[in-house]
């Protein structure tokens, strides 16, 4: 019995869909056991008519059309998998939650340098309204499993298919990226926070120790630490580790634990904090919508 699947991206970049294709020849053999009922990027079916076993849904809900589509598709699936970090947590587009919808639209249509819009038109005819904030897919539809990653590495996708074909639940690593990283950790103690690219960038040594912000301690393993292998600090795309909902909070704890705590000469924590630019964009790059506060608020409104 072939596993019937549907694949769709909502307000997405298609990276997760290409990640499936990146199984290359292994995908061809996998196709023996899969029946693709709906996948607009690959085949010409215009709608999903029958029920499927698995829906692979990537991207995040950015407008009303996305929301309707998510509901329409997941109603026909026995299992819905949030494929990738946008689906699981909101993803990088979730950073739009730091701005009001009006600010977002005005930048695009009125103030960008090349725009020629003397009538100050803000398009609003026949377009599905934009959702005020991005929320993770699980706030819209029932999600059976998350498969995080931006995109999930082909190895993870392959494992996911194998688990599904064997009727097993889709499970993820319980470790953090530090576990998969080959850089040497000597003394986890930071006395400074450098901007990425500033300073020497020694290869072979833990980047957090060198003073570069790295989200490894607060990020789930499964990606084989590919970024660290090319000396790029982890930015947290696999989302928070097992049993952690708020990745940023976890990272704050992690930094605090290594922030020169035993130095007698003492690095003033306030000073350390001023070295750290863009706290929200670093700690919640992929997970802002699924974090506890989830968006920017404004003070000054009286109840």
């Amino acid at each position: 019995m072939k596993l019937r699947i549907a694949v769709e991206g909502l307000g997405a970049c298609a990276g997760c869909e290409i990640a499936i294709l990146d199984l290359h020849e292994e995908l061809v053999s996998l196709l023996q056991d899969l029946e693709i009922d709906y996948a607009p990027i690959l085949i010409d079916r215009k709608s999903l008519k029958e029920n499927v076993d698995v829906l692979l849904l990537s991207g995040s809900v950015r407008n009303e059309h996305d929301a309707e589509e998510a509901v329409r598709l997941s109603e026909k699936a026995k299992i819905t998998i949030a494929l990738g970090s946008c689906a699981s947590f909101g993803g990088i587009p979730g950073l739009a939650n730091l701005y009001a919808t009006r600010e977002l639209l005005e930048r695009v249509y009125l103030t960008t340098e090349s725009t020629d819009n003397k009538e100050k038109i803000l398009p609003s005819e026949e377009v599905p309204p934009i959702e005020k904030i991005i929320k993770p897919l699980k706030d819209w539809v029932k999600i059976t499993y998350d498969l995080p990653g931006c995109p999930p590495q082909p190895k993870l996708i392959k494992e996911m298919f194998q688990m599904l074909l064997n009727g097993k639940p889709v499970t993820l690593s319980k470790k953090t990226v530090c576990d998969e990283c080959d850089l040497k950790r000597e003394e986890k103690k930071i006395t400074r926070i450098l901007r990425w690219g500033e300073g020497e960038l020694e290869s072979g040594r833990c980047l957090l120790e060198q003073g570069y912000f790295c989200a490894g301690p607060a990020t789930r393993a499964g990606c084989e630490a590919k970024c660290l292998a090319v000396l790029m600090p982890c930015r947290g795309c696999m989302g928070p580790p097992e049993n952690v909902t708020d990745q940023g909070a976890k990272m704050v704890s992690a930094i605090a634990s290594v922030a020169a705590i035993d130095e007698k000469s003492g690095v003033d924590p306030e000073q350390l904090a001023t070295m750290f630019k863009d706290v929200v964009g670093s700690l919640y790059r992929f997970t802002l919508p699924s974090s506890i506060i989830s968006r920017r608020v404004s003070e000054g409104k009286k109840r």
Binding site: Y99, V252, A256, A259, I261, P269, R296, E299, K301
Partner: protein
């Protein structure tokens, strides 16, 4: 007639110092506002940033964390860890639009009942000035 806003403040107090200090204020009959909801933990270092964020998300207008003076922590440096966490957390909260003064860290020892009461009084008034927590009902206005 506008309703006066009564701040709801959550306090995470460490067992050895903060909470003991609060007790002392009580037994010494030193008045302090009833707006504080005290939660006792063994150490201020137990305060996970998640607790503070959750308290704010659920509507607390302010969060007070009280630990031992540096050097006096019953577990050596739990209080220093929390100090660093809160410094970064405040920056994060600012970036998210919240006034960082809604979170406050104080060192109050078991013998400083007077100080405890004063701190709570000041903090509650500061929060009253800031106004209610903007998180609920503020979903990114257009």
């Amino acid at each position: 007639m506008p309703e006066t806003f009564e701040p709801y403040v959550v306090g995470f107090l460490c067992n050895w110092c903060g909470y003991a200090g609060a007790d002392l204020a009580g037994t010494s009959r030193i008045q302090y506002p009833p707006n504080l909801r005290a939660i006792r933990l063994m150490c201020s270092g137990r305060v996970d940033p998640t607790f503070i964020l959750t308290a704010l998300k659920r509507g607390a207008d302010g969060v007070l964390v009280v630990g031992c003076h540096p050097g006096d922590c019953h577990y050596i440096n739990g209080n220093l860890r929390t100090e660093r966490r809160i410094v970064f957390l405040k920056k994060m909260l600012s970036d998210l639009g919240l006034d960082y003064r809604r979170v406050r860290l104080e060192w109050i020892s078991a013998g400083e009942g007077e100080k405890f009461a004063t701190v709570v009084k000041e903090f509650v008034e500061e929060i009253r000035e800031l106004g209610p927590n903007p998180i609920e009902g503020n979903a990114n206005e257009t």
